[in-house]
Symmetry: D3
Subunit: 133 residues, 6 copies
């Protein structure tokens, strides 16, 4: 009965995360498959599919929130990839992370920058050319 939400979520997840999304589904398959289903149905089928915010801004807001939390490095890694997948530049991702130093402190920002660097390196996007100063 929720097939429509699941399908819509799967398509959005693929658009944002590429194959990364399928990885979470696979890892949870034998321990908490419903948790993976909720990520897809609710996370991507309901929330991520909302209009009202373009996908680039939505991903940058997600990077901001995950960086601020501090304990969500695996998910931050997914969404740094996601931000790049939907057209954000590495410099924009870095700007959002630097901004979080103000609100969540330098450790949260530094650890987020280290995670982002790994993603950028894997995608051959280093060095990041910042437009600031």
């Amino acid at each position: 009965m929720n097939d429509e939400r699941y399908i819509r979520g799967s398509l959005r997840l693929a658009e944002v995360d590429g194959e990364g999304g399928q990885h979470v589904v696979d890892v949870l398959k034998d321990v908490a498959p419903d948790l993976a289903r909720y990520v897809i149905e609710f996370g991507f089928g309901d929330v991520y599919s909302r209009p009202g915010l373009d996908l680039r801004t939505r991903e940058l807001a997600t990077v901001a929130g995950l960086a601020a939390l501090g304990h969500a490095q695996p998910q931050l890694r997914v969404h740094v990839n996601g931000a790049l997948n939907v057209g954000c530049t590495p410099a924009e991702v870095v700007e959002v992370i630097i901004q979080m130093a103000l609100y969540a402190g330098f450790p949260a920002a530094l650890n987020a920058a280290f995670t982002a660097k790994q993603v950028f390196a894997e995608r051959g996007l280093l060095p990041v050319v910042s437009s600031a100063r």
Copy 2:
């Protein structure tokens, strides 16, 4: 010697927060004036004055980070106002807050929505017309 940073920060603070920024300076004047100075010099003079992210996106990322933290309602209140001041719509602010339910949980998102509602009410912006569903 840091006068340039302070002036640049003050101008940016006024642009984002209107008179709200001056309020923080006044409150801290007799307890920790240097903390207020750092908010202006470093927060607004250095970070907020960076190019590389338009001010609307920067404010929405800030709302995301503050909502995710959960303990920063006074600052969230300032930056919901700030987001509106730089041209974000109430619906965009709400979208970012709803997005945070995924990463920081419903309590953080609900409390952020209550704070945003107060700001919107004070500015005569209720009801928020969401573009989603």
Copy 3:
């Protein structure tokens, strides 16, 4: 199309929260009605309606999680009421809160105890008779 989830969630919400649940819906009505809808559909229709854990244990786990977070006093208040509504005793709620002193520290446990005390007082359940020592 999600009517079944919404109805199932509304029934579960009423069972757990009594009229408290409707209060959240009302408050969010003109600012983020979809966030209230998600609380009902996903929170209560999907997650709270799961079998696999009796409702008393589910509420005590929720009290534990909310107390540990520290920034979720309004939601803790709702779920202390919810725990009592589904048959938990005040002493059980207090036990869970004391347990959290170990993991989240005394401030989180103390603030949760203050919130629980308000709820118990409103329901005429003070003093709590602890079974320990």
Copy 4:
């Protein structure tokens, strides 16, 4: 003079954690032995030895609190084992973790599920058969 608390705590620790508890004592021996002593005396001798909550519910509340915190994976690992040791099923542990997605967000719940999966795998308890849907 506190020998009684230490002995009572050691017995409870062994009951909950098996040999895992001794590991913490050993690791802290040459850096902060008093911290290990407090874990045993206060954590297990005082709090964990309280009546008023059966040990299964106490462990599930602990899993909830640790999952919600997000930064406590080593301790979550200990208490997923502890929950199983005192008679909780893997499905009950998973239910509590899924419940935390509502309050602490998906990253906290996902990372907790990954930790639980490792424990379940080591004990040959995969796949988890959920009773829900």
Copy 5:
């Protein structure tokens, strides 16, 4: 049997908190008296009574930790008073709070500064004369 710890804790609590400590005991009396007992026995009788750190440094470290947590304003208020009671100056308390802006972000530092200001005002200690710049 733990009377010695309770008495030692009560004396230390009175030294640090003055009458503020008794207030917590009174508030918890009819809801969670054991939690108050643990604060005294473990918090003040065990940990606060440890040698190895002079009481001024211990209180400043406590102010640092509470400010960084962000959700512990009532306890921060108690320990700003405590820091002053054991001989710290308002300027030292402010220095520690400013330092936390680096690690926990400006909102945590600002909210801590507001709490400290209230305490200083009640004790007639405003304005704080900072020795820095």
Copy 6:
């Protein structure tokens, strides 16, 4: 124009962190060099260079704050080294970490103790001789 702050910060960073500080600059060089510059200019040039708190107390407060946060192990590692570099003893660092068990819970304190143990081991400072009990 900010050269004075950068130079002052670099000197203070070298004093506190030895070569550890340069490591952060190097790692961020190709991803977020401005974030490293802010750490030096604002973190060490402005805040760490303030008078009003001796460097030993400042480092112990920093260890307290980082331990309480829970998600900042890499930075805690840097500042355990920093505390030792400016003259704190391992026993004082351990005392501050034990104190945090009261406010941030045992997981935060235990994980901080594990991190401190690694630093002490690398510097040949084990076992720590506590002055308490």
